[in-house]
């Protein structure tokens, strides 16, 4: 009944690209293990992707890192002080909205954009948040749903980092459940083609410094959610306020605020013409979540690197480095494994994304898992520092605090469990 498919297959083996170089024993010198890339993910990237990654990595380590972890003090994180110049610099390097084709954007692959994101979050998740909002949420939303006029007018300036964007979905009483939002857009009582927006959004990264605010609101007459691009310089005084939210437990290097709309006028041309309901914001979130899956592994990799170095330098009992402790080695092995697995999964979804084969559930999966595992391992690695972990100069406490926040935003981990559970069982368990 069963034919010998294997033998058949073997006979028919053509030299398919990299897959079927099977069988031949490789006798050349053995490849060394690289703890920074334990499963050889770099073999998967194109040359262009590797070049982009290197550019992003150099910029982030040389220009961004000193701002969060300065010689004098950890300015950005300690003082909750975000330097918006960063986005301008990233714009100059072509890193903003990088997967967009045209409009002054680079049009690179999703994997390339993932590598950029990882490089940024290796420095700080707050910087990555600022970057994700500009690239994936604001530019991505406008590119996907905006009119051609809007795209041509706004995207090139946003790509340069001259105009900054933000994304207003979450409201004080509606986090995991945006469908219940209360922000509303009413037709202007007298001016045709103008809507007036009322409501408030909260936990909006970049809102206090944003020039372009993508805000989701329910259209009063239909009750349907629509997207509006608010341009700050068009808003009369008192109609748009974006007070910052301070005293955060994490993501302190990013700037976060509210969006308060009181009779804020928006022209009809700035409303996304076609998309209605949650499909619009969810599509944008999907892109941002994809980036988070790459980014959080970057943060974890930085934790590994810091913990490894500390463990090699810190000596206790008989002068042995604590890297010799089994309990320390296990933490390093666990973290390194999860980082390596996380990158492969993000890579896979990136390739499928560009082939049009990535589903939102895949992105739920990698967002959830990579945030969770980055957090769990970062916490375990923090233990390696013993009492010294309490000092912010070792950097690891900052990553731990940041990663907890990434686990809760853009879909809290448990919510993604239930999204996946629904996809697996066909039954929804939100109650």
């Amino acid at each position: 009944m069963f034919r010998s498919v294997c033998r058949q297959a073997a006979r028919h083996l053509n030299a398919t690209p990299r897959t079927a170089i099977a069988g031949k024993r490789h006798l050349h010198t053995p490849v060394p293990f690289d703890w920074k890339d334990p499963l050889g993910a770099a073999n998967n990237y194109t040359e262009e992707e590797l070049a982009i990654a290197e550019t992003a990595e150099s910029y982030c380590q040389e220009r961004m890192l000193p701002r969060v972890l300065g010689i004098l003090s950890l300015q950005a994180y300690r003082k909750e002080d975000y330097d918006r110049q960063i986005l301008t610099e990233m714009g100059e390097l072509g890193l903003l909205g990088s997967t967009i084709q045209g409009y002054g954007c680079a049009g690179v692959s999703s994997v390339a954009s993932g590598l950029i994101t990882r490089a940024v979050e290796r420095v700080d998740s707050g910087y990555r948040s600022g970057y994700s909002v500009q690239s994936a949420l604001a530019m991505g939303g406008i590119e996907e749903f905006g009119t051609e006029e809007l795209k041509e007018r706004l995207l090139p300036e946003m790509a340069k980092g001259k105009l900054l964007g933000c994304f207003g979905l979450t409201e004080p009483n509606h986090g995991s459940d945006p469908g219940s939002m209360e922000t509303v857009a009413k037709a202007h009582p007298s001016k045709k083609g103008v809507y007036l927006l009322y409501g408030s959004k909260t936990w909006i990264t970049n809102s206090p410094i944003a020039d372009v605010l993508l805000v989701w609101a329910k259209l009063e007459n239909t009750g349907k959610i629509r997207g509006f691009v608010i341009e700050r310089d068009q808003c009369p005084p008192g109609t748009l306020e974006t007070p910052p939210i301070k005293n955060k437990n994490g993501l302190r290097a990013s700037i976060t605020g509210m969006i308060q709309l009181d009779e804020c006028p928006v022209k009809e041309e700035n409303m996304f013409p076609e998309v209605e309901g949650l499909r619009g914001p969810f599509s944008c979130l999907n892109s941002a979540r994809y980036g988070i899956a790459w980014g959080t592994i970057g943060a974890l990799e930085d934790c590994i690197s810091r913990a490894r170095q500390y463990a090699l330098e810190r000596k206790q009992f008989k002068g042995n480095p604590i890297a010799k402790y089994q309990l320390v080695q296990k933490k390093l092995a666990d973290a390194t494994t999860d980082a390596a697995y996380g990158i492969l999964a993000a890579y896979q979804v990136g390739r499928l994304k560009d082939e049009g084969k990535a589903t939102p559930e895949m992105i739920s999966m990698i967002k959830r898992q990579n945030c969770d595992r980055a957090l769990i391992n970062a916490r375990a690695l923090q233990e390696v520092f013993g009492g010294n972990a309490v000092s912010d100069e070792y950097g690891i406490g900052r990553h731990v605090a940041n990663l907890f926040v990434t686990q809760t935003y853009e879909g809290q981990s448990d919510i993604h469990s239930l999204i996946l559970g629904r996809a697996i069982t066909g039954i929804q368990a939100f109650c």
Copy 2:
């Protein structure tokens, strides 16, 4: 200092295979999420690999599964009763030693062999053990280190499943530390070109039914470990005993035994000519461990499938299926995620293996992680069955018991942690 590499890169983008189809929005109908392949790993396989996987899967489900989980009773598992005919059938399908080029073997890719292994372990880890020992350890060892004469004489018969092999490394007092083995090979006092082997090996899968026993022993005069191919039909009575070990807690569908050598004569031609020390057995183990990384995910996938079905059918409280419970959905989401990640990691190492870029540490990593995660998730899924889990008819308890064993053999999980820890830190922590 930083040039705009992204824009440059974008300009130079050639149509590289599947990587750079970036940017263009895909408007065709959305791809549905598949809980059996959540991250779309099937997109990565060649057509040949898919065909091989399908053959293996059909054989395993139609021919193997009824033996372990028969209509009348779970014969093999309950009775610790392995049917050696299975290997003959697999041989007929070309599934044995499948990555070997020539000698009657299929010469397929490492990924293809991984897919076969997964299909087998989806049925039972014991069957996979029997298969791994024949393919990776015995045939793989002979192919890599044996003389041409041995290969030509033994491999074709082993590929057909007519001759069965086993692999004798572990000893009663030396598990994680085979370098301390006590089995010894002494030059025959009178017959030139003959060695006499003394010692005993334990926990040897297939030993009671093996025709060809690959045994590692220290050469008396050098103290170096060498590999010997013992042919049972060449052994005088009383020099080779292979008593089975019964009453196992897991892997009961495989047959396990000891190898007791007492003045057992082996011709010099049956000693591997070049390889000395632990490099020989470790190279074989490497191949087997690679297979385990694929196989254990197969077992986990079967647990997911069984738990999902049970949760959909079992109704409690108000007639709702327990699949509606958040606590059940989370278990399914966790398991599905780990299975998806595990497959991508095994796939990656498979490709690198065929390119000569896989390191032993990579294999330690995927062996450890996939065994650990398969076990942890299988245990969590077992809880879904509540009190019914105690019945062996649901199959999940068998997987749980099996997976625990896979975590302890061919490198116990903690030992692989320390192997990885050594690779990461440069310091060894075995004490």
Copy 3:
């Protein structure tokens, strides 16, 4: 506003029993740490309790253990072969129904009964199940809810282990949700004062050997759950069947079966006169669960003892015992801690039980936690045995398999989470 209560308090300190011997430095020789009783729980027991514990412990180790782990073979566990003589022996020692006052029972404290339970489960959870069913479920139920006539007639014989009992609540389709049971009691169409029972119960420990079957059924005319004491010798042929269920994954040293009732006649006197609804079975379960909280710690303590001994005897690498490994020591420290905490919690609830202050939620808490922690730690300790764990002779795999079952019966762990969650929040989350 705040008075110096401390100083006041100190002045008024009377010599309250053991609590206020405060302050004085104790200069006598330091007490050594005892890994078998790490937090000194033995200090809390009365002399009588200690004597009872010693008796139980001696009996279990000397008489019970050889049956489960015999020199020749692990008869009971391997063969699923329960020796009912055990209950008779326990009866002779006064260990059955031990907290009951009168009726030939010992009338000891709940802590004493917990200590007995722990001693039994240290040998095997299956033996403890058989003991719990007799003592807590069957005898306890009759004592709490039965008529005086029933008590006087049955309890003394049950206390001697001459009559064996079982407890029929769970049905094939109703595990966590017994309120939906389908077993029904109808008034006999012609004989006054007789009910006919129809239905089936499953996973009933001891049912195949029980003389006295406490079965819960819905009274047809009221729809309310009532308790019936079925005496096997009163049942006409064909009205009561108790086929054993074999091939269990765990608790193999206990005997389990179904109860199949087909027009089974029970006299009205054998129906519990007052209790209606789930209060009856839940009260019995409460007592059994209390015992499980003690028992599972006994099983864990045996795992600790076995793993510790193995770790001290097993030598790897440079001849060091693996007890020297940090990864092994951590497993032992974790397990020892959870065992010590678990005993204190069970003790506390035992004392409160006798004072009438124990709530069902307390028992949910200690049942859940002690089962969960016993299981988790037993699994971790099983890893200490490496590949050898697969042999049933080390005993630890048996405990692991048993403890999983204890986690799922008498309230699966997640169900107890939701019972506790409801008590904490006031909101029920069963859906």
Copy 4:
């Protein structure tokens, strides 16, 4: 062979205090479950202990809490601004050094002092640290090892909170391994009866505001560790510096600093006369660790209370409070269980301490476990707050950050594992 001890025991049962009220069914109205004291620990305390606990609780909630979580801002935590007035207020209430007999101290039981500690840490672990250092480390050390003159002169003022103490053991290069300390005391070259101290200590709670510094140093001529009580007002300028350490990741409401000693003169009378080696500091740490075991449960209890309230008030999807989610209820159930178990264990050791039966390993066990479980559960509860957790106004992020520090100081968790491992196996695994 086995006599019926149970029956015997029952006959001899005297009315022992609270233990043997066994057997009698309690028919009075059922006791309700109290999520704040799930296992009824309050039943164990004496009336005096309850009164002390109430005083401490009132003070902490009414006077301390507003300082850490003020209406205008979280002054103490946000600004790392410790108000030393707190210790004076606690002194006025008799809460400092409360277990000490005489010298103006209250002389209460160890359980009472544990209850005070729990009340303080319920507010903030930083406040508890300040309190522990004054009470357990500084006052406790002087009381245990100081000369009568020192005790009479210093303790009464310290008890009033007029003189503040600190405890200098840890050094920059010697955390887990204080035996390698570098701080040294040399005999003054000319003044008899005076030592000169050289060296530096770090992570010293209260050092910048301490009047009395208990410092451990090696006596130059013997190499033995000795304890010195440095009185700040006796130190010539430049010989004692105590710069604060700022920018901590946790415990920000406490003040931490270094102790820098350069030719700092200490009179011989201020050296502890008898104690040598690590026994001295370890004995003090033992007392402090005992307090941490109580305190961290207080912090966890506050997290439970906050998460429960948030879950009841926060509504998502269909207007249901998220307390209705199974995943939320499980987190609450887990945390409540660990808090209840933790208190019982701390209570047990407290009683044994006063009876002279507590071993250092017991304290390692409860310090480690209670810190670990408080941290793990606090983190899980933090997830309940979703994105809002990032705001410091919910208080839970502060507890999480604090509890991580408690896990690392006074014996990092892994170090206590190895202390326990050594006690269990007899083999030490520090390498």
